[in-house]
């Protein structure tokens, strides 16, 4: 299954997002953001679902994020 990446603004928001998604039964992992997706170091959510669906959930719950990259 191809994995998409959603770059997060901090490790705290990454874990907050992971907790939220896991509680909704959505599997995700926290990975290091690749250089081409970030201006500095940071963390991303690695997800198998459509990243736009995930971003909608994040935004509904006030969790900021940066750019995303489809897998």
């Amino acid at each position: 299954m191809p994995k998409s990446l959603i770059a997060m603004t901090s490790i705290t928001y990454a874990y907050k997002a992971k907790r939220l998604l896991n509680n909704k039964g959505i599997y995700c992992e926290i990975v290091r953001t690749p250089k081409n997706l970030s201006t500095g170091c940071g963390y991303s959510l690695s997800v198998t679902k459509d990243p736009k669906e995930i971003i909608l959930i994040l935004e509904e719950n006030g969790i900021p994020h940066k750019t995303f990259m489809r897998g």
């Binding site: 705290t12 928001y13 907050k16 990975v31 290091r32 201006t39 500095g40 170091c41 940071g42």
Partner: protein, 379 residues
């Protein structure tokens, strides 16, 4: 040795705290939030878990919980974060030096103005004292929730409402309140600054700055946050903005178990237990004419008892008690303003502060020694 100096730091700690500290050193030694490898991420997840627990305890969003080295660091970050570019503040007459000294430093070096509002036994009068001192330049109210000298509880909810009405920030020192008074952001404060190692039973070297996010803070410490590393500007993302450098994973994991301990016992039950021990002390102390107890019948108190015996200095009393196996704090308890208010700047006071681990038998043993001092037989 029996510890009745738990306002300084609770000791002993719960076994679960000791176990968590050992586990952190043994298994979670990575640098949290800095790398993508599993060792780093495992530590980061542990830190996040404790952040979540603290957020639940204080009714905060998890990102608005910043770990600090202690309450003093949290207060400095909040006070200087609000006032470092000037303004005026109203502080209470009971403030610990951890609040009054940063304010005084800002006054000396940054042109910040400050006023001191007298805390009275009458809460309504106390609030009026604060309100009268607020002016157009006032940026914040700084007030302890409970005095670390006498335990007097301030009208912090009413002061929070006053700050909201005036559109200014309320910074609340909860070092003596956390773990015994159920204080949360719902009480209206903008900043809860507290220690992790006192009523929350975590290890020393732990503290918390909790905010509702309404007043973004200027930083007083900048550095690595694990985010936006290509930029020279400090990250504005909370809580990393306030957590430059490697956080204290070992202490934080211990603090997590301390919070669990408090949640299991409940703050209400800990308060009731410690207050009963204070009542036992007070009943004994008040039998002696030459013992002065620093309490007012019209005020409310956290479980602390401050007293002096005859003409003895507080340090003479605590030194004798130390030799007899009891740890109590004498002197000024780092609170010049509070002692100025009490009129005890020269003598200090003896402070009795129990924890969840003390019991009536221990207090009875302490009373026996105090009665010997009061009778003039031993010092």
């Amino acid at each position: 040795m029996i510890n009745f100096d738990n306002s300084a730091t609770t000791f002993p700690k719960p076994q679960s705290v000791k176990n968590a500290v050992a586990l952190a050193v043994e298994r979670f030694g990575g640098n949290p939030g800095r790398s993508g490898h599993e060792i780093s991420k495992a530590a980061a997840e542990q830190v996040f878990n404790v952040r979540e627990k603290a957020a639940r305890l204080f009714h905060a969003e998890v990102e608005n919980v910043a770990f600090t080295a202690n309450c003093t660091y949290a207060l400095n970050m909040a006070i200087k974060g609000i006032l470092q570019y000037g303004g005026h503040t109203v502080i209470s007459s009971l403030e610990h030096n951890s609040a009054s000294r940063p304010v005084y430093n800002l006054y000396k070096n940054r042109g910040v103005k400050y006023s001191i509002a007298k805390v009275e036994p009458d809460d309504e009068q106390t609030v009026r004292n604060f309100e009268e001192l607020i002016n157009a330049d006032t940026k914040c109210i700084i007030c302890t929730a409970a005095s670390n000298v006498t335990g007097q509880i301030t009208p912090y909810r009413e002061l929070a409402r006053l700050a909201q009405k005036k559109g200014i920030a309320f910074i609340c020192d909860c070092a003596q309140a956390s773990g015994v008074l159920d204080i949360t952001l719902d009480d209206g404060m903008d900043f809860i600054c507290t220690s992790g190692h006192k009523g929350l039973y975590g290890p020393t070297g732990t503290g918390l700055l909790i905010t509702n996010g309404k007043f973004p803070l200027s930083t007083i410490i900048e550095g690595g946050t694990g985010t936006t590393s290509a930029e020279l500007t400090q990250s504005d993302t909370m809580p990393e903005r306030l957590e430059s450098g490697t956080v204290n994973t070992v202490g934080i994991m211990g603090l997590g178990k301390g919070i669990d301990f408090v949640n299991t016992k409940t703050q209400a039950r800990i308060f009731a237990h410690e207050t009963a021990l204070c009542e036992q002390m007070l009943n004994a102390l008040r039998k002696h004419r030459n013992i002065t107890v620093y309490r007012d019948d019209n005020a409310h108190y956290a479980p602390i008892v401050a007293f002096n015996i005859g003409e003895y200095s507080s340090e003479e009393v605590t030194e004798y008690l130390n030799r007899r196996g009891f740890a109590l704090r004498g002197g000024l308890q780092c609170s010049a303003l509070a002692h100025h208010s009490l009129g005890t700047l020269l003598t200090g006071v003896v402070r009795f502060s129990p924890s969840a681990f003390n019991d009536r038998r221990q207090v009875a043993m302490l009373i026996h020694e105090i009665e010997k001092i009061a009778a003039g037989n031993v010092i």
